[in-house]
Symmetry: C2
Subunit: 344 residues, 2 copies
């Protein structure tokens, strides 16, 4: 296929081998060391030579062989995103990925996705990456207050950024959504609508942001003199059936909640449809505040209150932090808190 690119035509005979440093060395009459150093802008190479080498390199479409670089330097030019492959109905994961990819494009870095099964040991992928040196830096989410992955990576000197803060004693890069602000905003909005008995459907309590949300929720509920109607053993990660059962149980109980706070659109959908099965309508019989990334929920139930959280910008933020960490920036300067704007 002739795609009209400027790339040189393969030599008519052989299978058109990729140019290497040796190719450039031969063409310029220089040594391969000089070519390498010229392309890496080393100080002991003449400016004219550098220019000449760069020109030839560009002309013949030279691209450094990653395996060569990696073997010699140990640098992989890979960022690894560790992703739970479960508990993800709406694809927040892909938006994170798109954000990271976007930030990484134009850099020499590739994104590799390292999956793990949430029911097994979350340390497995992290150990694998460290032991095999398969990435220069790591990004992960579902951060826990005393996250053993963060500790391990820190101890082993592997740069990383987390989607979500930790409670750990040392500093590390993170990107987080201000879930406490969200909690406060949610309760205020519910109180303003005259709602008094509030149920929080929390994220799994081992996650750091679940703790923060729960704290903010209790504080706000207390401050405004509302009542906390707790769910039993149910989180936004549970199945549709589990959530429906629990929500319907609570809605039939003595203290029927008239307000819900919930941290994911998918579970908000489950709550609403569970309530509707009992003939209860959002906006009339109860109000619900949810976090969501795209206005799917809002679209369908405009009565629902929604606070936006953008996973794509989280991705670009995380990738950016990780790149800066690799360039030597301090962890403290790489901590970004996304403050929710409005509730609508």
């Amino acid at each position: 296929m002739d795609d009209g690119s400027a790339r040189p035509a393969p030599a008519s005979g052989g299978p058109a081998k990729r140019p290497t440093l040796k190719t450039i060395a031969f063409m310029t009459g220089l040594g391969v060391t000089t070519v390498s150093r010229a392309l890496n802008d080393a100080p002991d190479i003449g400016e004219a030579t550098k220019e000449r080498v760069r020109l030839v390199a560009k002309q013949i479409g030279y691209r450094p062989n990653r395996a060569g670089v990696r073997l010699r330097t140990g640098r992989t030019n890979v960022i690894s995103l560790i992703l739970s492959t479960e508990t993800e109905i709406l694809g927040l994961g892909s938006h994170l990925i798109y954000g990271i990819s976007e930030r990484l494009s134009g850099t020499p870095y590739h994104l590799i996705v390292t999956p793990y099964d949430i029911r097994t040991d979350p340390m497995v992928p992290v150990r694998y990456i460290v032991e095999t040196g398969s990435a220069d830096a790591v990004i992960f989410s579902r951060t826990m207050p005393q996250d053993p992955r963060a500790v391990y990576l820190h101890d082993n000197g592997m740069p990383f950024a987390t989607h979500g803060r930790t409670d750990l004693a040392f500093q590390h890069p993170w990107y987080d959504f201000d879930i406490e602000k969200f909690g406060a905003m949610a309760i205020e909005a519910l109180a303003a609508r005259g709602r008094r008995q509030i149920t929080l459907l929390p994220p799994p309590m081992n996650l750091n942001y679940a703790q923060l949300l729960m704290g903010a929720f209790r504080r706000a509920v207390g401050d405004l003199g509302l009542m906390d109607v707790p769910v039993h053993n149910t989180t936004i990660d549970d199945s549709r059936d589990a959530i429906r059962t629990e929500i319907q149980r609570i809605l039939r109980s003595d203290h029927r909640p008239d307000g819900f706070v919930c941290a994911s659109a998918a579970s908000a959908i489950y709550i609403i449809s569970a309530a509707e099965e009992l003939g209860l309508k959002p906006g009339r019989d109860f109000d619900l505040v949810s976090k969501e990334s795209y206005e799917i929920l809002k679209q369908f139930r405009p009565e629902v209150l929604v606070v936006g959280e953008d996973f794509r910008t989280a991705g670009t933020g995380l990738a950016d932090s990780v790149l800066k960490a690799l360039a030597g920036a301090s962890a403290e300067s790489l901590q970004i808190l996304e403050v929710p704007e409005d509730i609508h």
Copy 2:
């Protein structure tokens, strides 16, 4: 952090270097060639030796250095998924990724995500991968009838599998959803409900499945004596506003449709909310059939008719095909058509 794993403790002095073939060679008293061949189960190594080498390798946690292998053999042990980073509100992409990851885990293959901007040249990432040899095989979606990426990969001998068929003269692995069946089922269901004027909101017409769907749609509409009420220049990939404007235009026109067929949940949501703004209710004033992966849409508007398409199994199917292709399987044997089960 002591994680209690069986991995040997780092030597108290140095920084605990990773074991290599040389390490095993030293420990067993064999040559490094022998060790290499033993681990690769070469025929000219004694069975006892192989066993011994494998034992030691396992004991010290030997893992082959990917850069070494790659540099020597050119094999990258990487599968590249080329993903458009736009036009993806609901994260189908992540389910594809999870499916692929799932299939790849336990193999030596890593998944790397190569993004591209749909508005620029789709050949860019494909050329990059081929030119730099950065993957052993490629998976991509948004397949076009005469897909230049497929042609290019085929011409350059790079194994690949597509999510969606093509019209090309040569065979290649693909995984596809039987969109024609979907179209026929949709029209039948609408006709059975007495709907007569049907509008199809198609995928972008340059995509292969858009053509197939359009064909099946027209055939079924003709066969059942219904009327096709076409949209103008609008597809499921357009923005919410664009879809809303066009749907409302068509709903206000002389031939107001009473049935909709649509190939993505996100755009179905837009259609419904556009119709509801005009006071039209699904199930009453019109029916709508959509394809969707998770029952988000169905959950909210149970009146809507839905056909399930699972992107995760598509991912495992694609990964499986690509692995088999790498193992030498014929393209013809790696073509999987997912037939939709029921409409509900």
